[in-house]
Symmetry: D4
Subunit: 221 residues, 8 copies
Amino acid sequence: MTDGFEDLGYARADTGRERRLGLPEVVYGPGKTAEQIVGVVGALLAANEGPVLVTRLDEATAAVVAAAVPGGEYDRAARLFVWRPASPRAFRVVVVSAGTSDAPVAAEAAAVARAVGLDVLELRDVGVAGIHRLLGEVEVLSGADAVICIAGMEGALPSVVGGLVGCPVIAVPTSVGYGATLEGVTPLLAMLSSCAPGLVVVNIDSGFGAAVAAHRMAVRR
Amino acid sequence: MTDGFEDLGYARADTGRERRLGLPEVVYGPGKTAEQIVGVVGALLAANEGPVLVTRLDEATAAVVAAAVPGGEYDRAARLFVWRPASPRAFRVVVVSAGTSDAPVAAEAAAVARAVGLDVLELRDVGVAGIHRLLGEVEVLSGADAVICIAGMEGALPSVVGGLVGCPVIAVPTSVGYGATLEGVTPLLAMLSSCAPGLVVVNIDSGFGAAVAAHRMAVRR
Amino acid sequence: MTDGFEDLGYARADTGRERRLGLPEVVYGPGKTAEQIVGVVGALLAANEGPVLVTRLDEATAAVVAAAVPGGEYDRAARLFVWRPASPRAFRVVVVSAGTSDAPVAAEAAAVARAVGLDVLELRDVGVAGIHRLLGEVEVLSGADAVICIAGMEGALPSVVGGLVGCPVIAVPTSVGYGATLEGVTPLLAMLSSCAPGLVVVNIDSGFGAAVAAHRMAVRR
Amino acid sequence: MTDGFEDLGYARADTGRERRLGLPEVVYGPGKTAEQIVGVVGALLAANEGPVLVTRLDEATAAVVAAAVPGGEYDRAARLFVWRPASPRAFRVVVVSAGTSDAPVAAEAAAVARAVGLDVLELRDVGVAGIHRLLGEVEVLSGADAVICIAGMEGALPSVVGGLVGCPVIAVPTSVGYGATLEGVTPLLAMLSSCAPGLVVVNIDSGFGAAVAAHRMAVRR
Amino acid sequence: MTDGFEDLGYARADTGRERRLGLPEVVYGPGKTAEQIVGVVGALLAANEGPVLVTRLDEATAAVVAAAVPGGEYDRAARLFVWRPASPRAFRVVVVSAGTSDAPVAAEAAAVARAVGLDVLELRDVGVAGIHRLLGEVEVLSGADAVICIAGMEGALPSVVGGLVGCPVIAVPTSVGYGATLEGVTPLLAMLSSCAPGLVVVNIDSGFGAAVAAHRMAVRR
Amino acid sequence: MTDGFEDLGYARADTGRERRLGLPEVVYGPGKTAEQIVGVVGALLAANEGPVLVTRLDEATAAVVAAAVPGGEYDRAARLFVWRPASPRAFRVVVVSAGTSDAPVAAEAAAVARAVGLDVLELRDVGVAGIHRLLGEVEVLSGADAVICIAGMEGALPSVVGGLVGCPVIAVPTSVGYGATLEGVTPLLAMLSSCAPGLVVVNIDSGFGAAVAAHRMAVRR
Amino acid sequence: MTDGFEDLGYARADTGRERRLGLPEVVYGPGKTAEQIVGVVGALLAANEGPVLVTRLDEATAAVVAAAVPGGEYDRAARLFVWRPASPRAFRVVVVSAGTSDAPVAAEAAAVARAVGLDVLELRDVGVAGIHRLLGEVEVLSGADAVICIAGMEGALPSVVGGLVGCPVIAVPTSVGYGATLEGVTPLLAMLSSCAPGLVVVNIDSGFGAAVAAHRMAVRR
Amino acid sequence: MTDGFEDLGYARADTGRERRLGLPEVVYGPGKTAEQIVGVVGALLAANEGPVLVTRLDEATAAVVAAAVPGGEYDRAARLFVWRPASPRAFRVVVVSAGTSDAPVAAEAAAVARAVGLDVLELRDVGVAGIHRLLGEVEVLSGADAVICIAGMEGALPSVVGGLVGCPVIAVPTSVGYGATLEGVTPLLAMLSSCAPGLVVVNIDSGFGAAVAAHRMAVRR
């Protein structure tokens, strides 16, 4: 191991990331073999103390990994593998999603947020075409330290939420929809163009990105 | 004059349009000289009985046209010239706009709608970042035969309105905004991707298109 | 059940929508399990009086749903499941399509329109490259309260129809074509840019959206 | 002069083009100084026998060029300078344009076509929203050896024309329109996606390209 | 049969097209059932005298069609079914393709051109990175009445060909390539932007469109 | 004044926003007359206690506004007008910019952040092509409660910063650059695609949006 | 064989390319049958002296080709078949890749570079989110005659490398990532917009293009 | 001065770049005041020994800078200011441009290349529509150590050049053209998609980037 990383040949595990960022490197599953994932996870578990995560992991690979690196847990809905989840902090994240089809992204956001120690609460199917469903939850929203707001199609939900509460609102566009939705590009652009002040946006379908963004907000309190 | 149109050389005035559509041809101002506009307007006034309109007309050209074809009125905010406005019908159009910067498009929509005989009522600056401003007007919206819903930036307003009322909602994206708004393409795509059922959309900044769409709905009652 | 919606955990059925819009919430099939669909349909049937629809439902899921929620009917061509179709109104919708390949979108538009009580008549394969096929049907078009006009490729059909009749013309771009058609984006942009006044446009392949737009026009008469 | 071109330092006049293509090189005006244009025109006049053209030339530069290279004529509407126009051939080109705003592109197409010896006839303002204006001219169209068909907005005109006549139809999209027209990209894509068989397309606003395409058809007869 | 078309319910065969355009309607295979194809082909064979074609037909459907409508021939490489090919005319079309991967598009262009009576000659794999391969064929090109020029990737071939010969050059972009080629959009835009004068362009991968464009040129001679 | 907003006719000042979000509504300058700005500012000053801001205000309009509503201050570099700046909080925001040309966006971010009470520190011209300039400031970055990271061109700076510190990193793409930078769309997409975990992104050139996002993070501490 | 190429019917092997460019033509595998590949490879082996390569060849086709043209070697990771690799030169190419998922592109770049005689050294997984991993390798980079720098997502790596070393940096965007990465278009545009001076860019995923670019640099020394 | 850069407040002059890259930092003119440019140039002249350049500098600012920092020279055509040009090396760069309108980009490429010590030779107006103009210069091209190949419109020139010579070919797309050229995006994509092996590409209109790329190739010899 050289200073701050371990060279595995096919990968350089960034073993110094926990010290710098307060969270070990997270492993992105796609494009890696089960063997590579096992190797990187092993290195990260050895060199860090905090939670080790693999995202977007399919069930078959997860089974191989589970056999090789015991002690972790696989969440099928979130496609997430977690070892050593962090102990909970008093930072409340409300994960709000616009429609039932946004569920996989919401699941990833919630599972990653819990794994890194945040206190998660979920509100589902509160899309703006039935705005009363959202307005009935203003109190829940007001108790949030941060809101993760997930929507596909026209991506209007974060604009409404951002006008209701003053805490950080992290908007996550999803690829839900068809035609003019352009696989999530439309809600992405819409969220970036929001008339609500101070919204922030992450990549399409990136429940993971939103959860880590919330973690960044939590660690600085 | 041949059957259904008059050939002016530089233009063929569609003199049969009033008979077919219930509304004379409307003259699109840009790219035409004052002389051409005078010519076409004259032909349309002569061959039809209903209102004759010139849209997107700048003030200087309007002055020349006014001198040559008396009896009309120019609306500076709407950039619209109207001769022989239609007598009013009992078809209520509510023109709702999201922000103060959308005013020119709202002005065009309202002025054209009035010129073709619709009963217009305006609601301004009811963007979704302060959703209570819109919710306070639900009764006004409920009295509409059609709503014209104008918004730039993320274009979320029609989705909320479309979930509140059952009448036709005509969404008009505007070029208001910057960066990711892409000069109106973002609200256009967002409105087309709306989760509210049965919204219809017209071209960017086309207050004119929305008003004529409302007229089509009115004439078939 | 809270006020206006029922929280099923995975979904909040918008049970107040029928009261607000005159039509119960319509269930979008993709991305939902058969169990979720059964649950939402049940909630909607219980809380409303009007028609309950599931769109874009594949045949296999439809069979499961049919077994669990009897009394409905599945339309394979339209991929639509309908319970309690509305009683017919005297609002004539003519569904015009440009080519044989546009048939699935036309089928959805027609089936949804019938399910919500509209009086539907279809004209197929009247694309503009053989314009006499359309011109032979002007009388049929003239009897319409609204025209739903479906076309892929260059999307020219609504421009011609919009110049022939004065009733509302709802343009539906389809993803039929290849190369420069860009999976329906080209006819979408073309329809929005139409020189025919007052056309309105819905999302690519959205026969559903067009039919509900027609319903909005019908209910306000 | 080396073989087939003359090196003027700032340009290599392609003096062999007339021999290869049957038409001398045409000078594209923008981005060239009056002095450079004078030089290239002089070289082309000396080395060829046919017509020499400068396109997209503004009036001020044209005046300088006219003084330095006498014997030519400047067409303000077409922004075209022509020396030694070709003697007329019996090849009839009908230049059809959809709207009055397309006039500058139609003027360029007609002027270039005449300069290279084609027999030009113009039909203006026959857009598809008043289809009877076009249908009244089928006989004129049937007499064409080639049709140049010019339209902005949704670009539907060539599809209708292409279904009426069997001769070559050269479609020219224009940048007329706003919003979803995307400065001519929409009619360009629409024309390429046309359901009418065997249409061919040139660049946006390129009346010049269409006229030379017609010339290529004429010379091979 | 009404005037000029036959209504088959699912389709309106444009039986008047041969009279108007000199070529019967061509059937586009995708999105049609074998039964529909059989029906339309039957109607077209009965009402016309010239060649009847089905394009982009897969082998399995072709077998069903062949059994139901005898007398035709299926070309697997071109995915084309032809009944009653036209008798040959003295109009030479040279089909030039840039690379071996462009072969399917070249095959369609050549087969359609032959079926409609043109005299076809093919030049393959003469891409511009080995320009001597093309320059060695200038004489062949000079004998053409029209050149169909097929290229993917950067689409440069038609620019070079268009500078070598004066006859019509019909450029066909293909979807060959990856990354920045954008599935044929890049060569399409490049061909439209060509510095060679008077090129004309058809849709991506449309060997069919190019062949019919050549037919239009041939019939007017 | 109705509940939570004041209807000025041309605008509805959202007077309830301070109560909901902890910050009064901010006035977006473009597209508003000086009179309208004066009116809205007056309403906001009267109904709220916190800072009132007008963004993107040109100098000429600012002078008119300053005369009508005394007590504020105009920042020319930031194009920002501020009345009643908030008292400072112990929340350190480090505004990092990649190049000298990004200065206007950095100025807006810093000025808005100061106006809403944040403790701002600026690092300029630390672009990644001279990475040592950034690495020399790691200690400064480590003292931040949030980093606002501003870059045009390839937008790489936030990825490096996001790998160095664990606090929130708010990425702001700018329209600095030319050609492939696509007026800021390229750095926008790059920042959204970052390999650094948990970055959040705001609209192109939106120093304002980034500062308010930081404020949201500060108020929840 | 005519001068400089051999006409195989389906292909014209550019047998003169080795003489002109110092490297025989390279065969692009996709879209060619095994038989065609065998034919072209045979012609190139016979007419040239240097290495013959087939790129992007799947394993199944490779097996057929291997049996027909002995003496070559297939590299599965690089999807490359090589006959007669060039003897090594003293030109050091360092292939740097940002993430483990970029491995296939890096493998192609390295394998092609070795096959054409370059001296290759690889650095893997040195993405900018853990910049110390790259900075620890500055000495290795300084020994390079050229660096091939491979990255997906935001494509920031070449900007940092280009600021560290003065030798040529060939940037290769990959299609690794999702959402806003747009299948490699985002890193492509980012690399072209880089603030580091004198970077050069090749097509998305084109390890091959980068390696041949390096070869061009090597042969001119 | 800290290690490797000098902090001027508004800028951090990268004084260590010459040591790392063999060339001092180059100043990008746009968006900087004359005073800022004077400051940065002064710092770079003091801390380095090699040439100091300011690119894209307008004439008015250049005059101010010239007065404040004597000893430099301004090249109006290239919009370049140079102090202490490097002594010439034996590395021949041939700058080839397709059309007369590409002259400003060619001028920048040539002037920067000369300023950094390369041996420059220019070939102008050798576009592919008159391919003999290029083929007559093969010997000149063969003497190049690197070719900078500049073209707008369809950007085909580098593909032909890249098939003629084996040295590095640096392709520069320009914004010359209209319509489908999309301000240089079309030739950019075309050059990246080239069928000629091993071409490398820089940003649109970046003569500067191409020249520095050539310098990188030269310094490693």
